[in-house]
Symmetry: C2
Subunit: 199 residues, 2 copies
DNA sequence: GGGAATCTTGCGCACCAGGCAAGTTTGCTC
DNA sequence: GAGCAAACTTGCCTGGTGCGCAAGATTCCC
């Protein structure tokens, strides 16, 4: 994923990851709001000021994993054939991602991420993370649609799809025994729009 | 809506509204992040500390109007017959609300609200406002559903429906000439799930 | 009228975002 | 490999913020 792309870039990625993981660990241990930015920075061997160079808030650091995963989802969607009905393409991308999470090294992330569950105050920040991707997703989808309501359709599709993925992820987090791919499949089944591929 | 319910309650409601409107006005005039909590409190003739008694952040004050309307949506849903298919009930409630916004005194709110548009940094806070309602909506919907996946279905429905309403509202804000009810109708048409009323 | 409940306010404190200006590290070229 | 430019890190500092606390004001209700 992050090929050898220059020392500088790799170091930055490492720092970002370290901050994210420190945030996740400390939040799990002490509760998200008992953790200060300074503590996170310390745990990642970096100054408080540097933390601000990477994330604009504690919460952004916490949800960096989600953000990364959503970016990956965009990539996967991009790889889907352009003539596939949009919802089908989205579903395939989501299932692909879920499979990666279940098998790949992202499993570790999932487990750490689980420990954040049960802090309802963070839900709004999760929603914010998803909202940040929504515009990009809508843009990508607009390219796959034709017809008069193209923009509106793209936005609705992006919003409902991401909402579904969010719920499915939540579900997967709450039920550690269920593979993520099953959670995604179940949620998508309930959300499939009546008309996909129409004009 | 707010019957004579005791002086104390009415005063509190008035203060909350005053803070909300002051926030909206100042944010429109100077840009959301150039406004301080203190300025909002001053404009509403209240101390900075009192602001915090009503809202936990500037953004919460800004989106109080959205929150109020979403609460109203819950009320309207509650008034729908319990045996109606869920998506149909949701749609009717949303259309009812849109009609109120187009005709009633909420029009003024819409116009003030429009001036907030074009500050993308606020989108995440809007999403947060919707997320806060989502759990309640899912609870209400769960009562209307039966079957094994009841909870999951309710969550997916709540999330996708609110996402749709959010997009429609956004659309209605961006196109002042289109009545809100048309925006809602159009968005809902695209989002209707394939199976409504199933088990 | 008067006591209980609730709300407002000022004060104080820990925390936070982000501008600025050294100092340090990495990338690139010869 | 020397050396310069670009990029990154850090400390310092300032204007803001969220919230606990306790004193004073207001409303409620008998």
């Amino acid at each position: 994923m992050d090929e050898a792309a220059g020392l500088r870039e790799r170091k930055k990625a490492a720092t970002r990851l370290a901050l994210h993981e420190a945030a996740l660990r400390l939040a799990a241990e002490q509760g998200p709001d008992r953790v200060t930015v300074e503590a996170i920075a310390d745990a990642a061997n970096v100054s408080r000021r540097t933390f601000s160079n990477y994330f604009s808030s504690k919460e952004e650091a916490l949800f960096y994993g989600d953000t990364t995963r959503l970016r990956r989802l965009l990539e996967l969607l991009h790889a889907e054939p352009a003539d596939e009905p949009p919802w089908a393409a989205l579903s395939r991308a989501a299932l692909h991602l879920a499979a990666e999470v279940d098998d790949g090294p992202a499993r570790a992330w999932l487990n750490r991420r689980r420990r954040l569950h049960g802090h309802p105050g963070l839900l709004s920040h999760q929603a914010a993370a998803y909202a940040a991707i929504e515009r990009e997703l809508a843009g990508e989808l607009a390219r796959r649609l034709t017809g008069p309501d193209q923009t509106l359709r793209a936005r609705v599709l992006a919003a409902t799809f991401l909402a579904t993925v969010r719920v499915a992820t939540q579900q997967g987090i709450e039920h550690p025994d269920t593979p993520m791919i099953d959670a995604i499949r179940a949620a998508l089944a309930h959300a499939a729009p009546a008309s996909d591929g129409g004009s």
